[in-house]
């Protein structure tokens, strides 16, 4: 890491932060009230729980897993069967049980956390990552073998409007589903945050930092990792259960490597070192996957490039970017960065424009050729087969790449100088 991340506790009352968050959850759909916005918010809510659960093992426990969707997906399957079971009328209760369905997902997520966790936590580090990949593939393959439970290619569908309406709430309209998700999301956020302040949560950090030393203060690192995984799988299962309610369908895709990769991307992009990082990451990821995918078929490519760029240049994620910049501002050194930032942003935009042009035109040529070579690019009608536009695109790309590299180096120099300045000041203040 180029910069030292220091703990900068923001001194705002805990109640204020949580209260404001709850208020935000309640008010958001009133501000963004279109149907599309509500579905977007609902999906973000589910992803937030999923990403936070993933960060329990990744950021806090130091375990990189490529198969976390196993727990959320299996939880989703059990939840949707429960939903169908409720709907079949075999259980008569005056109150709609739908709000409790995610708990079914959570319980079964935890059960499989125990089963698979026992095997996977036998190793740590890179072998652990590979094993989770294998287990994930195994569950995915197995899910296609038992169509009675997993529904084969078509999956299992359900109807969430079951049971007696409670106070007029049927969970049919999207807005009601949003509030259900928001309530669960808030509850899970509180629970997972509280977990980080328990002995197990803190020892998980110790095992992450130095598993050997943790052994010498009385802890079995394997046990610690196992317990953390089970708790994490519980919350992943809740996310799965909410997904079952929201989409009313669960397929093999819910346990696929794509889902597992997605939550990894989301958590990492948000930032694994701070609790709120995965929340940001979940929001960004859902935005890419749901909103951007409407504009371009190449959204996965852009997401991948964004992810690799973050791995290379900002491994602490968006959260650490925000916090380190806040720290610079606190030390009133941000003025020195204003010009370098402008340079990087401008050249970055040019580079981005060039990349988008090339990618979108290529995609159009290879995938949509039947429709002819004309397409819309940044609102302009262009002929994607014409050499002229290609020359322009490549020119923009080259100029952007060159400019960006120059600006980036300048920025890195200035940033390093600013960080060194801050270190020096802190050292003087500490009287060392």
């Amino acid at each position: 890491m180029e910069t030292t991340i220091r703990f900068a506790p923001i001194d705002v009352g805990r109640w204020f932060v949580w209260g404001a968050t709850a208020l935000l959850f309640a008010v958001l759909p009133l501000v963004f009230s279109s149907g599309f916005a509500i579905t977007l918010l609902s999906q973000m809510g589910i992803m937030v729980i999923f990403a936070l659960s993933y960060n329990m093992i990744f950021g806090q426990g130091g375990m990189l897993s490529f198969g976390h969707a196993v727990y959320s997906g299996l939880g989703a399957f059990f939840a949707i069967h429960a939903l169908n079971w409720i709907g079949s009328g075999q259980l008569w209760l005056p109150v709609s049980l739908v709000p409790l369905v995610p708990l079914v997902g959570g319980v079964f997520g935890a059960v499989f956390g125990v089963v698979f966790g026992y095997v996977t936590t036998k190793k740590a580090g890179t072998p652990f990552a590979m094993i989770t990949l294998g287990i994930g593939e195994m569950v995915f393959s197995a899910s296609l073998m038992f169509p009675a439970f997993f529904g084969g290619e078509g999956g299992i569908s359900s109807n969430r409007v079951v049971g007696e309406p409670f106070l007029g709430i049927t969970f049919g309209p999207g807005l009601q589903v949003y509030y259900l998700i928001a309530a669960w999301c808030f509850a899970c956020m509180v629970a997972m945050f509280a977990f980080t302040h328990t002995p197990l949560g803190r020892i998980a950090n110790a095992v992450r930092d130095n598993p050997e030393r943790a052994e010498f203060i009385g802890y079995n690192p394997q046990r610690v990792r196992f317990f953390v995984l089970v708790v994490s799988a519980f919350f992943a299962g809740i996310a799965g259960g909410l997904s079952a309610i929201n989409f009313e369908i669960v397929t093999a895709e819910n346990v696929s490597a794509i889902r597992s990769g997605g939550v990894l991307l989301a958590t990492f992009i948000g930032g694994t070192m701070f609790f709120f990082g995965p929340i940001l990451g979940a929001v960004v990821f859902v935005f890419f996957a749901v909103a951007l995918s409407d504009y371009t078929k190449a959204w996965q490519f852009y997401l991948g490039v964004f992810f690799v760029a973050m791995v290379m240049f900002a491994p602490g994620g968006v959260a650490s970017l925000i916090l380190t910049n806040l720290r610079v501002m606190k030390h009133r050194l941000f003025g020195r960065l204003r010009d370098p930032y402008a340079g990087v942003l401008l050249s970055g935009l040019v580079l981005l424009a060039g990349v988008v042009m090339v990618v979108e035109m290529s995609y159009h040529l290879t995938l949509n050729f039947a429709a002819g070579s004309r397409m819309r690019l940044f609102g302009f009608e262009v002929d994607s087969a014409a050499p002229g536009i290609w020359l322009l695109a490549l020119g923009v790309l080259a100029a952007g790449a060159l400019g960006f590299e120059v600006m980036r180096r300048r920025f890195a120099r200035e940033w390093g100088a600013v960080q060194a300045e801050i270190e020096e000041r802190s050292r003087r203040e500490a009287g060392v």
Binding site: T4, T198, L200, R202, D209, N210, E215, F216, N220, R223
Partner: protein
């Protein structure tokens, strides 16, 4: 008679064909401060690793307060009341100094794998951590990430983590390695304070530290103990002087 705090019976360790520890037998009484000295390569760190469970022994027995701990894993041994520090600082770099010490208290205080206790409310863990911080003199660095401390501060933290669990038997592996004279003197005082009433086994190179702290000294040469005696006895021991080729043993 009470069982010895630590008892080694004909301990042997081979790596492949090379025998590093060749039949070490040693008995450390309760409350004793025992130092293990010897030339480089004698096997002092290996011996510590055997006792604390980091390596498995090839043969022989290790007893802690009369109980056989041979072949047990480090966390099992730690839970029975033996704690060790490391020659190469082995702390939790991304956690704060306070958290480092507090983590070391948790298992001993019985919290184990609990995820239902709120850390902030655990008065006993907090109290003990504060106490240890005070004793190792790192109160002012309470909230700094441990990875950013100076070398001497990290060595002090290393000792702090070792004693925080309240273990009866403390093993310190070259606690003053790399320290200046004044830092060493401060470290000696620290060690003397924190091991009051406990059993201490220490590996050291610095003779002033050894002769200032130890009740008894054992000399380890090529994996064997050639002498165990009081400091003055060791000073005068011909075999020990020869082993050191007449260099350090004679120094005050």
């Amino acid at each position: 008679m009470a069982a010895a705090a630590l008892n080694l019976v004909d301990l042997r360790k081979s790596f492949g064909k090379t025998e590093i520890i060749r039949g070490v037998s040693l008995s450390v009484a309760r409350g004793e401060r025992h130092a293990i000295i010897g030339p480089n390569g004698a096997g002092k760190s290996t011996l510590f690793n055997l006792i604390s469970g980091r390596f498995g022994s090839t043969s022989g027995r290790i007893e802690l307060n009369g109980e056989d701990i041979t072949g047990r894993r480090p966390f099992e041994i730690n839970r029975k009341g033996l704690s060790r520090s490391f020659q190469i600082t082995n702390i939790f770099p991304r956690m704060s100094v306070y958290e480092n010490v507090r983590c070391a208290t948790l298992y001993a205080l019985g919290y184990r794998y609990s995820c239902w206790h709120r850390l902030a409310k655990l008065a006993d863990a907090a109290g003990r951590a504060e106490d240890v911080l005070h004793r190792i003199g790192l109160r002012s660095r309470r909230d700094t990430p441990a990875g950013t401390l100076t070398y001497a501060e990290q060595r002090a933290l290393e000792i702090g983590i070792t004693i925080a669990g309240g273990a009866e038997v403390i093993l310190l592996d070259e606690p003053t390695a790399g320290m200046s004279r004044s830092e060493s003197d401060r470290a000696v005082e620290l060690i003397r304070r924190v091991t009051e009433g406990r059993t201490l086994v220490m590996v050291e190179h610095d003779m002033s530290v050894v002769f200032g702290l130890a009740d008894r000294i054992s000399v380890l040469v090529y994996g064997e103990i050639i002498a165990t005696d009081t400091p003055s006895g060791i000073r005068g021991n011909r075999a020990v002087q020869e082993a050191y080729l007449g260099t350090t043993a004679a120094e005050p």
